[in-house]
Amino acid sequence: MLHQEIVVENQRLAREADIYRLVLKGTVADTAQPGQFVHIKVGSTLDPLLRRPISVAGINRPNGEITLFYRVAGRGTRLLAGVRPGESLSLLGPVGKGFTLPTAGELLLVAGGIGIFPLFALVEAVDRSQVKVKMLWGGANRDFLEAVGRETLFQMGVDYAVASLDGSMGQPGLVTDLLASELNKKGVLVPETGEGNLLGSDAGCPEDWGRKAGFSVAACGPRGMLRAVTELCIQAGAPVEVSLEERMACGVGACLGCVCTVRTTDGALERKRVCQDGPVFDGREVVWDEKD
C-alpha cells in the first residue's frame, strides 16, 4: 500500500492550462484499476501536511508504470510540478473502488474538464472488441481541450464528441447537452415530466430502457455536471457510475474525513467514504444536496 516510486516523467502539457503528466515506475501498476487513485506526499516537510489524491489515468503493467495527469491547483500540486525525473515520490495506493468494467454492450463516458483523466484509464482497460466505447467531453474552450487531452484521445482511437462553452471546438454548450442528444438518438430518454427531482432513488426511473439497451454511463467532472448526468441517466433508465471528489486526509477509510451522503436502498441516509467506498459511486445512491 505504501510505495516509493521513481519519477519517469513530469512534464507540463501546455503553457496555458498548467496541466502536467506524471509517469511513475513502481509496483502500483501491478494492481491499479481504472477509477482508483494514488495518495501522494508532496514535498518533504510538514507543510503542506496532507497527501494529495490523484487519479490513475494510465496503467502500463508490463513496464510497471502508471500515468497521472494533474492540474496545478494550489500549493501541493505546485510542489509536485517541481519534482524531476529520477527523484522518488511516496505513494499510498492504489486506493478506492474503481469503475465497473463492462464486458459487452456500450459504454458512454462523460467527462467534464479535467474529469477526463480517470476515464483515460477506463478507455484503456475496456475490451473494445467487445464493448463499444464513446467519450463525451466538455470544456471551456479549444485551448483547454487541446492542452488537456485531445491528443491523448486521438491516440487512443476512441470515438468521441466534444462540447465547449464558447463554441471554439465541437458543439457549443455543455457536455450534458451532448449526453442528452446521445440518449435521444438512442431513443431511451424519457421526456421530463416537470415533476422535479428524480434523484436519490430508483423510484423516479420509469423504465429500465437504458439497462435493457445494454449500455451504461461512467462520468467524472464537477459535481454539478455529475448531478445532471445522473438525472439524465435516471430518465433514460441507464446505469450510471460517477467519480466523486472530496477533501481527503487519510485516504484509507480511517478518518471519515471524505464522506459523501448516500441513500441506501431502504431509504436511510448514510455517509460513505469517498476514498474507500468510492471514489466511484452509483449515481443514483448519491444525495446531491448535502445539508446536515
Binding site: L2, L49, L50, R247, A249, C250, V252, A254, V259
Partner: protein
Amino acid sequence: MKKIDLTTRLGPLELKNPVLTSSGTYGFGEEYRAFFELSRLGAITVKGITPLPRLGNPPPRVAETPAGMLNAVGLQNPGVEAFLTTYLPRLEKLNTPIIVNISGFSLDDYGLLASMMPDHSCIAALEVNISCPNIKEGGLAFGTDPKSAEQVLAVTRKNTKLPLIAKLSPNVTDIVPLAKAVANGGADIISLINTLLGMRIDLDTGRPVLGNIMGGLSGPAVLPVAVRMVYQVYKAVSLPIIGMGGISCWQDAVEFMLAGASAISVGTANFINPLAPLEIISGLEEYCRRKGYNRVGELVGLAHR
C-alpha cells in the same frame, strides 16, 4: 545491542510499548492492517462511540492548515450496539489492546456506555472523551468545566471496572484544574490533547471551508501547545499521562516523554505516514540505547529536573 525495556505501565494499564494510535484517526484498526502487523502497537484507540449511531457532520469535513489540519467529523459512528456486535469481534482478531473512546451528551450517556463495555474482551481501557469540539450538544462543555468533568468521570467509574482514561481538551484557560478534577472523579490515566478549535474560510466562496464551520486543529502545528500541557499536568497531578498532539516522529515522542508522558499516541501523522508508529517505536528504543537508559520509562518527566 542492548535490549531496551519498552513495557509501559499506566496505573492499572500495562502495555508492551508506549506507542498508541489516536481515536478518530485510526478507524477501527482494520484500515491500517495493510501496512504492518497491528499487534506491534502498544494499543489502538478506536473512533469515539456514542449510545446511538451518528451520521456526523456534512462535508467538507477536513481542511488543511499550515503543518496541521482541521476536522469536523462530528462523531460519525455506528453507535454502541453495532460497535459491540459488529466491530468488537473484528477488533478481537487484531491481537492488540483496544482502547474504546466514549462520548456522550449527558451523564447518563457516559454511564450507559461504560456499563455496556465488556471487561473480558480485547478492551484494555475506556478513554472518556469530554473534549470533542465538533458537536454542538455537549462534549466540549463537559471538558471545559472542572465540576462537570469530575461528574462524567465519577459516573463512568461507577459503571465499569476497566481502567479509565480521561481525555482533556486544550481549549481551556488552564488545563490543571481540569486534570485535577478528572483525577478526583476517578480517572486512572489522563490523555491530552484533543484538538484545538479552529476554522478556515474559502477565498473563492467567501464561506467557511468546513460544513460545520468550525473544526478541531490537529497535527504538528499543535505540538508545542500539547507538550506544554503535558508538562503542566505532569507537574500538578500524579496520574500517568498519554501525550498526543502533532507527534510525527520519534523525536516528537521523546519530547512528550521528557515533558511527562508515560505513553504517546499518534493521530494525524498516520494519514501522512502510516508507518509512523513503528518508526517511533524503534526511534525511542534507539534513543534510549544512545543515551544509556535501560527502560523507556526512564525518560518520563526528565525535563522537570
